[in-house]
C-alpha cells in the first residue's frame, strides 16, 4: 500500500476539488447500488405484490383522473387515457425522486456524523430508487398501449433521450431539495403540496394543444411542462417531439442539475455540523 497524505483545512464556501471528488464518488458506486437495493427491499418492492402495488397505484390514479376528465368534459378517448397514464408515470419518476431525496441527508445523520464520503451519494441513491420504481410502470404502459391500439413508429425512440433528460432533472431536484432540507427542515412538510401543484400545472390532466397561447407562455416557468409534452408526443402519439420544447426541457434539466450540484457540493462539508 502506498501512503497517501490527506490534508484537512478550514471550510470555505466553494467547490471541493472536483476531480478528487468524482474519483471518490466513482470508487463508491457499489454503495449507491447496494443502498438502493436495500431501500427497495425494505419497501418490499422486491416481492411480486410489492411490484404489483407499484404499478397498480399510478394505474388506479390514472383511472380516477380519467373518470374525472370524462365527467367534466363529457367525452374522452383512448389517446387521452394513454397520454394521462404515460405522463403520470413519468411524473412519478420525478416526484419519487423528490420525495425520496428530500430526507436523504437528514435521515443519513448517523452515517454522515461518523463516516467521510461524498454526501451526494445519498440523493443519487434516491433517484436510482425512483428509477427502479419507474421501470415496471413503463412496461405496463407499453402493454396498455398495445391494448389501446395506438400507432407505432420509429419516432417513439425519442422517448429514450427524453427519459434521460427526465432522470437528470429528477437527480438535480433530489440533490437540491436534500440540501435545502438541511437548512429548512420543514421543506419536507411542504413537499407534498409542491408535488401536487406541479402535477396540476403540468400537461398531464390536459394536453398542451388545448392550452391558450397566453397560458402556454406562462408555462415556460414550469420545468416539467415541455418535458411531459415531448414525452407524450413521442410515446403516445408516436411522433417527433417539437425540437423547441425538447431543447427547453434539456436546458431546464441542465440548469437545475448544475445549480443544485453547485449548491450541494459547496455546502456538504458543513452538513455534519448542521445535523
Amino acid at each position: 500500500m502506498s501512503t497517501q497524505v490527506t490534508i484537512y483545512e478550514p471550510f470555505r464556501a466553494g467547490l471541493p476539488p472536483i476531480g478528487a471528488y468524482l474519483r471518490q464518488l466513482w470508487s463508491r458506486r457499489t454503495f449507491i447500488a447496494e443502498f438502493s437495493r436495500a431501500e427497495l427491499r425494505e419497501q418490499n418492492f422486491d416481492s411480486v405484490f410489492g411490484q404489483l402495488w407499484l404499478v397498480l397505484n399510478p394505474l388506479l390514479l390514472s383511472g380516477v383522473y380519467f373518470l374525472l376528465i370524462y365527467i367534466i368534459r363529457g367525452s374522452s378517448d383512448s389517446t387521452r387515457y394513454a397520454h394521462l397514464t404515460a405522463c403520470l408515470f413519468l411524473f412519478y419518476l420525478i416526484g419519487n425522486s423528490l420525495s425520496g431525496g428530500v430526507k436523504s441527508i437528514t435521515s443519513g445523520q448517523r452515517l454522515i456524523m461518523n463516516t467521510a464520503f461524498p454526501r451526494v451519494m445519498l440523493p443519487i441513491s434516491a433517484t436510482v430508487v425512483a428509477l427502479f420504481k419507474f421501470i415496471p410502470t413503463l412496461a405496463v404502459f407499453f402493454v396498455l398501449r398495445i391494448a389501446l391500439g395506438l400507432p407505432y413508429s420509429w419516432q417513439m425512440l425519442w422517448g429514450v433521450p427524453i427519459l434521460l433528460i427526465a432522470l437528470l432533472m429528477g437527480l438535480g431536484m433530489a440533490i437540491t431539495i436534500s440540501c435545502i432540507n438541511v437548512y429548512f427542515r420543514d421543506i419536507a412538510n411542504f413537499l407534498p403540496y409542491i408535488i401536487r401543484s406541479l402535477l396540476y400545472l403540468s400537461p398531464i390532466l390536459f394536453e398542451v394543444s388545448a392550452l391558450s397561447p397566453r397560458l402556454k407562455k406562462f408555462e415556460m416557468f414550469n420545468p416539467l411542462f415541455s418535458l411531459l409534452d415531448s414525452w407524450s408526443k413521442a410515446v403516445v402519439h408516436a411522433s417527433a417531439p417539437d425540437m423547441h420544447s425538447l431543447l427547453q426541457s434539456l436546458i431546464w434539466a441542465v440548469v437545475i442539475f448544475l445549480f443544485g450540484t453547485y449548491f450541494f457540493l459547496s455546502r456538504e462539508r458543513d452538513f455534519a455540523v448542521r445535523l
Binding site: T3, E34, Q109, R110, M113, N114, M121
Partner: protein
Amino acid sequence: MISLSVSKSNSQNSTHAKHGLAVSISNLSLIYKTSISKRPTFKARLKSIGRGKKHTRVVNAINNVNLEVHYGSVLGVIGSNGAGKSSLMRVISGIIPPTQGKVEVHGSVSTLLALGVGFNPSMTGRSNVYLGGLAAGMTRSEIDSRFEAISEFSELGDSIDAPMRTYSSGMYARLAFSVAATVEPDILIIDEALSTGDAHFKEKSLNRIKELRSADRALILVSHALATIEEICNEVLWLDKGKIMMRGKPEEVVAAYKEFLNVGKSASSNEDV
C-alpha cells in the same frame, strides 16, 4: 513524545516507516455554531426576520490543539463528557472541517468511526455492515471476505439478519466494534465502542485491540475506561474543554486525570474490565 526520525512519508512506496508520522495536527480549533431553536425551519426563519440578530450558541469544542501521532503507537484519549474527544476524532477522519489550523493524515484512516454502523435502523445488521463498509470506501469483495469474521466476532448469531432497531445498545456496540476491528486500516480510531459491551465482550475486544497493535498501524482509542486505557496504550492524551491538559505516559496522565476528577478512590470508576 519521543519522535524518532519524523520521515515525511508522502511518496514512499511501501509500508510506513517505523515510527513515521501518522497524524499531524497544528493549531487546530473547532467552533460549533448552532441556532438555539432546535430545528432550523423556514417558519422559524420567517418569524425571526424582524428580530435583528440571530440567536446562536457558540461552542468552542477544540481549542488550539497541536498533536502528532506516530505509526506503531497506541494513543489513548481521555477527558470528561463534552471535552471534545469525539469532535477531535471527527476532524481527524475528515468528517468535520476544522475552523482553524490544519490536519495532515498520512495513510488511510478507518473513517468508519464505529457508530456509523447501523445508521439505518430499519435495515438488517447485515445490510448495515455492508452499507457502512461501502460508504467508508471498502469494496464489496473486501466486505464479503470479512463478513464471516465480523459476524462471528460479534457473536450475534441469527440476529445479524434482524432489523437493527430490534438490537439492544450492547448489540449495536458489538457489531460496531466488530466492523471497526476487522477493517484493518492504517489508522484505526475507536471512539467509545468499548463501553457498552458486557464483560465477556469487553475482554474479547480488549484482546482484539492488543492484536491490532503493530508497527505499521496507529491506534487511537477514546474511552472512559481508564484501566483499559492504562493497560493498552503507550501514550495518553487528556483533553478538557477542548484543550490539551496533559500528554505522556499512561500511568501519569491517568493518575493526574483521576486526581482532577477527584474519583481516585471511589469504586465505580474502577469497574472497567
